[in-house]
């Protein structure tokens, strides 16, 4: 898929673990793992909003389009 999820990069920049993010955005570790590994087929706006809020970033920092 040409959409790359850079969640791990942002987490490393913010020095935040997956457990910590999971608690902050109220998502299960399994679902966050699906998103992190790029297996996700769709992302809800509410999830994206919660992640951006927790990581203090923009959606573009997490999602990237590669042709």
């Amino acid at each position: 898929m040409p959409i790359i999820v850079n969640l791990d990069v942002m987490m490393a920049k913010r020095k935040m673990s997956l457990n910590e993010l999971s608690e902050k955005v109220d998502l299960t570790l399994a679902n966050l793992s699906i998103l992190k590994t790029g297996k996700a087929k769709a992302v809800r706006f509410s999830t994206l909003e919660a992640i951006c809020k927790a990581l203090n970033c923009q959606p573009g920092d997490i999602l990237e389009f590669v042709d």
Binding site: L27, N31, L32, I34, L35, K39, A40, K41, A42, V43, R44, T47
Partner: protein, 180 residues
């Protein structure tokens, strides 16, 4: 009534039907073999009392062809119920995730078998009609278990359509599971 209870009842019913169709298939195969190899007199009391002695006297080759069509249709019916029993026994029918690939393949296989039964019964009916037109006294196609080719075909098409809908259902379910 709960779905689990209905499935248990269906499992028992499938076993009963499976045993019945196996006896029917085995009976017609054995009867044909016995008539052709051991004792031709048996043609007058072919499986379930059908008198095929006139056909045997006309030509044993046609007798073999006719009994083969009857046997193939009976074996295919037994195969369908074998698949139903296997499906229910292996518990591949998950009620929490009903749209899965095993169920889709099961429906697809049953639809192909149903197409096969439709083909062989239709062939059998036409063949019997041709034999009657040749002056051979034949039992009714219903008694020979060759009737209802159109119903089998209709069932096959319906199951094939359901299998295609299942395919889309699996895609939607997977997409839903992978939505974060």
């Amino acid at each position: 009534m709960k779905t689990r209870t209905i499935l248990k009842i269906l499992h028992v019913l499938s076993w009963v039907i499976f045993i019945g169709v196996c006896i029917e298939a085995g009976g017609s195969i054995f009867s044909a073999f016995y008539t052709l190899v051991i004792n031709p007199v048996n043609a007058s009391t072919f499986w379930e009392g059908n008198d095929l002695s006139a056909l045997y006297k006309y030509d044993p080759g046609h007798f073999f062809a006719e009994t083969s069509l009857i046997s193939i249709a009976a074996v295919l019916k037994a195969c369908i119920f074998y698949l139903v029993i296997k499906m229910l026994h292996d518990k591949k029918l998950s009620l929490s995730q009903p749209f899965n690939n095993e169920v889709r393949l099961f429906i697809l296989k049953v639809s192909y078998l149903t197409f096969g039964i439709a083909l062989f019964t239709w062939w059998g009916v036409n063949y019997t009609g041709w034999l009657v037109s040749q002056g051979v006294k034949m039992p009714d196609t219903q008694h020979l278990r060759l009737g209802g080719a159109d119903v089998w075909l209709f069932m096959g098409v319906t199951l094939f359509v359901i299998a295609q809908i299942f395919k889309r259902g699996i895609e939607i379910q997977t997409e839903n599971e992978l939505t974060v």
